[in-house]
Symmetry: C2
Subunit: 317 residues, 2 copies
């Protein structure tokens, strides 16, 4: 039996939008990328989102496919129940009723989701957490955020703000976080925090500061200060993940975001540090994300499929 | 229409069992208390549990009621899916298939739950969190544990170990926890940790150490060391609850356990300290538990009602 149904999926970021047509089996049949160009202001960004979504639906029909729903992922605070992009610094959104706008324009059922939560959904159902039921997806980049996914559903919270693992306390005497509090995980162990800490210790102040990936690289070649910064970050990450595991008791922790591209330089010492912190806990698997920067778009597609009750793609558990 | 259905509910603790017959509307129609007498060994405790449950079912029938299910709450690690009391120091259980044993003896559908998780279930559905959808119940006594309840279901975790908020890191330089790690919330802010810290600072070493309630009392009368210990504990609790809120984003935090009996001496400063820590977060209500030591037994009853698909009692949300 052939299935001509597809969903239109968009992952809207601060610089670009990753877009796709995805079948009920989770297979991507077409992808597109478009600039967000957020400097134009939120109204123009919304127009672009609607144009791109409508364009993809038209292309689907031209190819003999039937678009059945739309899924859109955005960063920031997202009220998924009401379909409203409550607040997003990157994209300039403030209380944008993106779901209703999309329904009005395309006439298709639409789901709005949070970028990290839908990324976690995709990793849990189609990626590195597949088949394990209880997954914590942790994206480590400029910031740190997480999605707790149980049986293929990501926890949203009472106000659309669940999963902010970057803001759990790990170092009360540590640096002040962007959120205003001292010692948040994000202030100590995000990719940007690692670069900052290294610059602070070495006194290197150039236009292009050393990145976390370079710190990991230099640590691997035996550079002492880089080694210290990297070890401190690993210890803080392990503390944060151990606190998360105490609360969530997941089977699998999936690490994504830019820092996860450090691969075994991150995973090997982090696994050891996490193991050391597991006392009464059941120890989770710690694995790298499998879907790369497509996770958000695939997750938006899953939200859309869920919205119309289609879950053929999902792994049996 | 009269409803003659009841469930048999038992909350098995280290010293006593709280038992009840509960109707589908959550109303308790009979209560009993029995000693656990754990020193007799786990086999004898299991026999007592089965005798008490069978006795309650018989009394229900004698009163013209129809027992339709059994709910049992136990402490420790509980595999709710398999109905096995995996491990409990208090009661001496180790891999006891309590659900199947109860089904075999009483011939009624039976649900096994974790004492804090079912306590949270009851507070969320019938108690202080009623009507708010997303609840974090935190029990502070000898230890600290939590239950995250969303839409009337408590998160269990992949291995039955979710909710261990007592073991999130809050003070890396703090005292060592019973679990073996330094600086866990429980090692700094449980009722026993507060008593210990006060004894340490004052050098008071008597057979009956000063309790956390007394520390709160002495702090209220202006005793300086007691004030310091109480403030340190409040700050650590606020840090722990703020980390929990970052991850869970609940509408309501319900405080239970022995320490919550300190009432406004705890709640007023803790609300202020939590407020100070809310940056990007949506601030939860912070309230005292409403069901006292009956929460576990009521929660066991809710589990039993859920097991047979009866949820008449539940608040609309």
């Amino acid at each position: 039996m052939t299935d001509d149904r597809v969903v239109v999926a968009l992952d809207v970021g601060g610089t670009g939008m990753k877009c796709a047509l995805v079948g009920p089996d989770g297979v991507v049949v077409r992808t597109e990328r478009h600039p967000t160009d957020a400097a134009r202001g939120p109204a123009a960004v919304v127009d672009t989102i609607l144009d791109v979504a409508a364009g993809l639906a038209d292309k689907a029909r031209a190819d003999g496919l039937s678009p059945i729903a739309v899924g859109i992922a955005v960063p920031g605070v997202v009220d998924e129940a009401r379909g409203v992009a409550v607040w997003s610094a990157n994209v300039g959104f403030r209380d944008v009723p993106l779901r209703d706008l999309t329904v009005a324009r395309l006439g298709l059922p639409t789901a709005l989701g949070h970028d990290v939560r839908v990324g976690g959904l995709a990793e849990a159902r189609l990626g590195a957490g597949r088949g394990t039921g209880h997954v914590l997806f942790v994206a480590i980049g400029t910031g740190i955020a997480a999605a707790h996914v149980v049986d293929g559903m990501a926890a949203v919270g009472a106000h659309g703000a669940a999963g902010e693992i970057g803001h759990i306390l790990v170092r009360p005497d540590g640096p002040r976080c962007g959120c205003g509090r001292p010692g948040c995980l994000e202030a100590v162990a995000s990719a940007s925090a690692i670069g900052r800490r290294y610059a602070e210790l070495t006194g290197e102040t150039t236009d292009a500061p050393v990145t976390a990936a370079e710190v990991a690289e230099r640590a691997a070649t035996g550079e002492q200060l880089a080694g210290q910064v990297w070890r401190e970050a690993i210890a803080a990450l392990a503390d944060g993940l151990a606190s998360g595991q105490a609360l969530f008791d997941v089977a699998t922790i999936v690490l994504g975001g830019g820092l996860a591209q450090a691969g075994d330089r991150l995973l090997t010492p982090l696994r050891a540090a996490l193991h050391e912190r597991m006392t009464f806990h059941r120890e989770p698997q710690l694995v790298a994300a499998a879907l790369g920067d497509e996770a958000g778009c695939l997750g938006a597609a899953l939200l859309a499929l869920d919205a119309v009750g289609v879950r053929d793609h999902q792994e049996k558990r």
